[in-house]
């Protein structure tokens, strides 16, 4: 009879007594061993056994009854010590049978007894937590929202939830029954982080065991997510602690035990399975799967496995982390395919050199962002230089070119302020386009709101309660807000500076508390002429104030872009001479005054409204005052716009506003790379007309003449608006871009069965004949949609007519008959199927206009409540809210990016 051991019950009762083992053997004595990991049965690992992970009754073996089953159970205390520390959902056991102590032994194969899992009701899908936040997805090296717009996530790490026990004092000393409130994570604080500091993401470290075992903790997570989402911020749940007991060695920096585990464990899979299921319908939740993988410290006695050869970034260790990433990704995406994952680098999260993580078939993991943690000073990083930072972000293997990268935690003490400033600049340089290509950065979360290195000041206080001294950490307030630390001052300044701004106006030379400056630059103020004020974060309602001799005059801009205010014609009531100019935002933020001199006199012929990329041939949009026009009947005369410079300037302002500052964001991501120039010159003798009036109230642009005009003016443009004035013929029209020759083709595309290539250069610009003023605020961007497209490489047509398509029209298709069904898929472009805008249920199609008896149809709208921008946007209650459909926006952006790349 061989030795056999089994348990009387098939599973462990988490709240019950130790298991009863049933032993049968033909030997007379038996040792029973129980362990949290089967490797501990290996005698070579005996040194790693503790009362918390291994039990053996070798000191008093069980006497085995001959021919009968023998029952044995552990001491309750011994069992509890092991059970509480298990890292798997159960325990391992085996038997060693013998007759005499020194004689031969028979060992059974280790067996596993799982913990019973109660049949539970489905996890309540937390409802309504996400507010109006959109789903985010990783596409290439960007993170996009549902509308296809690139998103930059910037915010702070708000720790506390991973270590704050319930029934402890909050920062005001009041004992709170929940971890969240005891940590001080209140709605008021959430509002400060999101509204006052302008964070749109908060990284929240969490505790694995508490998530798995405490319902109240899950409710805390729900409340945290809801608080931030109510203020427009995403919550990044970051696994930072496995429980509140284990330490993983001594941190050499602090000399204190660290609770930062080196790797995940099996319960980590259960954690993410649970959270992915719970938040399956919540776009507000982002998944930072494991805080800071690292080689276990020499003093880490919890780590049971043999340490691999090599160092932090060597394959034996890196491959272990990659394997965990693959397993966790499978678990999360099995529950929620839309979940956006954040994966830390090795070496305490820093190093992304050996990434991305690949699936077994070699494909990259879907919907995954790679995150580096950078704390200064950092011996592994070395000096904070672009080259070194490129290194840790995986530039050597082109990681940022193919995958999104993020800084999940960055910070340091005040002594590192200069280097942190440099780090912020580096990160800022990553989350933007350069030459038409995204640089791979998708943002950061600065560390930390509540723990070292602090972003806001904290103190400690104590009180005697019930005869005991109780201490708690406080937040230091400056008025109604938290007092930033020196590093916090840099971070809040960065957050309040829009992502596309090239730099943060942070002046370290100034005293603390005054280092964030809000400065603007101003063009020469000339009466009757265009005034430009450049800066950043010009919000709705921002105005200009000009002060002369103590008298302040308010000047409202004609166009307000996030980084530019344009006054189309400086009032002649503004006194000449010395003055100061300030910009005032509705929230009270006022720029530092700029000394100016108001002048009079002739305006220059040409002005750069937006400078564009600093290179020889940036993508350029030109507004030119039409010198001459062909009237109906053929007469060629000077265009009346030549006598109406003010109206020309106003039309240009309207054009700027429509292109860069309405809800349709087609050009917004590229605003700092596009040159916009306005040119007003009188007609030279014999100059060809650039526009011609047509019966029906239309005016056509003459593309050949405009091309020649621009060449003569040495003004290469990709799209050109010829601005004219004739109210009876004010309907604008546009002609398509003629792309450059084959030598300048950019990447190819496939559109259904059509294969084409976007071109980097323009042979003839797309042209628009636009009235001064345009009939509507959206006329300039509607016509831009036409002009930016190409009749040969995909024309963008009007959607408000049931015309037959001429050539390759990318945004309009035709059914065989008016009763033919609408296909589900409008077109496949770039490997993505774009649905059709179909009538369904109460929805009639075309944003509410309906298809009537039409053959034509378009692609699915981003916003079905109003017409497509290329449709009759005049039928919308507020035409400025009209959008392109996603396919057209993607197609036109691909064309724009190709030209930005030249």
């Amino acid at each position: 009879m061989a030795t056999r051991i089994r348990t009387q019950r098939r599973s462990l009762d988490p709240n019950g007594p130790p298991p009863v083992f049933v032993i049968t053997s033909d030997r007379s004595q038996c040792i029973v061993e129980v362990a949290t990991d089967p490797m501990l049965f290996d005698g070579s690992l005996a040194a790693r056994r503790t009362a918390a992970n291994h039990f053996s009754n070798a000191g008093s073996p069980v006497a085995v009854a001959a021919g009968r089953a023998t029952f044995y159970t552990l001491d309750v205390g011994a069992f509890t010590a092991i059970y509480r520390n298990r890292t798997t959902p159960g325990l391992y056991y085996r038997a060693i049978a013998f007759d005499v102590a020194a004689g031969p032994r028979e060992e059974t194969t280790p067996l596993f007894i799982p913990t019973a899992v109660a049949r539970r009701p489905p996890m309540p899908a937390a409802r309504g937590l996400s507010g109006s936040l959109l789903w985010l997805k990783a596409e290439g090296n960007r993170v996009l929202d549902e509308n296809g717009d690139p998103v930059v996530l910037r915010g702070v790490v708000r720790s506390g939830l991973e270590y704050t026990a319930p029934n402890t004092p909050d920062p005001t000393g009041v004992v709170r029954s929940r971890s969240r409130t005891a940590a001080g994570m209140t709605a008021a604080e959430a509002a400060e982080i999101t509204n006052h500091w302008d964070a749109n993401v908060v990284r929240v470290p969490i505790n694995q065991e508490w998530t798995l075992t405490r319902a109240n903790y899950l409710a805390d997570l729900d409340a945290t997510i809801a608080m931030y989402a109510a203020n427009g911020a995403y919550t990044m749940l970051a696994l930072a602690r496995l429980d509140d007991r284990r330490a993983f060695g001594i941190d050499a920096t602090t000399g204190l035990p660290t609770q930062n585990p080196p790797l995940p464990e099996e319960n980590t899979l259960a954690l993410w399975r649970q959270l992915a299921e719970r938040y399956r319908r919540q776009p507000a939740v982002l998944y930072d799967i494991f805080n800071e993988p690292h080689l276990p410290l020499p003093s880490d006695t919890d780590f049971l496995f043999q340490r691999p050869a090599g160092g932090e970034t060597d394959p034996p260790w890196v491959s272990r982390w990659h394997e965990w990433v693959r397993r966790i990704e499978q678990v999360i995406h099995h529950q929620n395919q839309l979940a956006l994952l954040f994966v830390s680098g090795v070496a305490w999260g820093l190093d992304l050199r050996n990434f991305p993580v690949l699936q077994p078939n070699g494909a990259p993991l879907p919907n995954t962002v790679y995150s580096s943690h950078i704390f200064l000073p950092n011996g592994r990083l070395g000096a904070v230089t672009p080259a070194n930072l490129d290194g840790v972000f995986g530039a050597a293997t082109a990681l940022p070119e193919s995958h999104p990268v993020f800084a999940g935690a960055w910070g340091g003490p005040a002594a590192q302020l200069a280097d942190l400033d440099a780090l912020e600049s580096y990160l800022r340089g990553r989350h933007r386009y350069r030459n038409g290509s995204w640089r791979g950065g998708v943002g950061w979360t600065a560390s930390s709101w509540a723990d070292e290195p602090l972003l806001v000041e904290r103190g400690t206080t104590s009180a005697v309660r019930g005869g005991r001294t109780v201490s708690w950490r406080t937040f230091t307030m400056a008025g109604a807000h938290n007092q930033p630390t020196e590093v916090g001052e840099l971070v809040v300044g960065s957050l309040r500076t829009m992502p596309i701004a090239a730099v943060v106006d942070f002046d370290r030379a100034r005293p603390r508390g005054s280092r964030n400056r809000y400065r603007v630059t101003v063009s020469t103020p000339r009466r009757g002429d265009i005034l430009l004020v450049r800066g950043h974060d010009f919000t709705r309602g921002t105005r200009i104030e000009i002060t002369t001799g103590g008298v302040t005059r308010r000047v409202d801009p004609s166009a307000r872009l996030p980084a530019l205010l344009m006054v189309s014609s400086l009032p002649t009531t503004v006194p000449l001479g010395a003055a100061t100019l300030t910009v005032v935002r509705p929230d009270g933020l006022t720029s530092e005054p700029v000394a100016v001199t108001v002048v009079a006199g002739a305006a220059p012929d040409s002005i750069d409204l937006l400078p564009g990329a600093a290179k020889a041939a940036p993508f350029t949009i030109a507004f030119i005052a039409n010198p001459r026009v062909t009237r109906v009947g053929g007469a060629i005369v000077a265009d009346p716009i030549q006598a109406a410079r003010g109206r020309f300037n106003s039309a240009v302002a309207r054009g700027l506003q429509a292109l860069f500052a309405v809800r349709e964001s087609l050009l917004h991501p590229y605003a700092d790379e596009i040159r916009v120039v306005a040119r007003f010159t009188p007609p030279a003798a014999g100059m060809a007309p650039l526009c011609e009036h047509q019966p029906g109230g239309l005016t056509y642009p003459n593309q050949a003449n405009i091309t020649a005009y621009l060449a003569a003016a040495v003004l290469p443009a990709d799209v050109c608006y010829a601005v004219f004035r004739e109210p009876a013929f004010n309907r604008a029209t546009a002609d398509f871009t003629v792309d450059g020759p084959a030598a300048f083709l950019d990447h190819g595309f496939s559109f259904d069965a059509v294969h084409g290539q976007h071109s980097r250069v323009t042979t003839q610009p797309g042209v628009v004949a636009m009235h001064a003023p345009p009939m509507t605020s959206m006329t300039p961007i509607h016509e831009f949609g036409h002009a930016m497209s190409s009749s040969g490489n995909g024309a963008c047509g009007d959607l408000y007519v049931d015309d037959v398509n001429v050539g390759f029209v990318m945004n309009r298709k035709r059914r065989p008959t008016v009763v033919s069904p609408f296909p589900a898929v409008f077109a496949r472009y770039g490997g993505t199927d774009y649905p059709t805008d179909r009538p369904r249920g109460a929805y009639v199609g075309r944003g509410g206009i309906g298809y009537a008896h039409w053959h034509n149809y378009g692609a699915e709208l981003i916003d079905r409540r109003r017409p497509n921008l290329m449709d009759n946007f005049n039928l919308a209650a507020n035409r400025r809210l009209c959008l392109l459909d996603e396919l057209t926006r993607r197609f036109l952006r691909d064309r724009i990016e190709a030209k930005l790349r030249r």
Binding site: D735, S777, V801
Partner: protein, 97 residues
């Protein structure tokens, strides 16, 4: 290619052109779009290079004539209507957001 007519423009056009109907205006719009669509068609649309320009000019001329006839017959005050609507608003533009 062509800026869409607003409801106000359509109303003004019909008000100033007695006897013209919505269907008449739609038909004129269709012609205008057809004309501009042909004018902006890619060169290969017109077939072999040798006769492309001639074909293009002929097609446009035919449409120009149709447009003129329809405009003269039904919408002699069309341009005046467009002017009237523009002048109503041009000095009171929508403020920037």
């Amino acid at each position: 290619m062509i800026e869409p007519l607003s409801p106000e423009q359509r109303a003004e056009i019909l008000a100033r052109n007695a006897g013209a109907t919505e269907a008449d205006l739609d038909a004129l719009e269709t012609l205008l779009h057809e004309r501009w669509g042909l004018a902006t068609a890619p060169p290969e649309f017109w077939g072999d290079v040798e006769f492309a320009d001639a074909r293009r000019r002929a097609a446009l001329a035919e449409l120009d004539e149709q447009i003129q006839v329809r405009r003269d017959a039904r919408f002699p005050e069309l341009e005046a209507a467009l002017e009237a609507v523009l002048l109503r608003y041009e000095d009171d533009p929508e403020p920037p957001e």
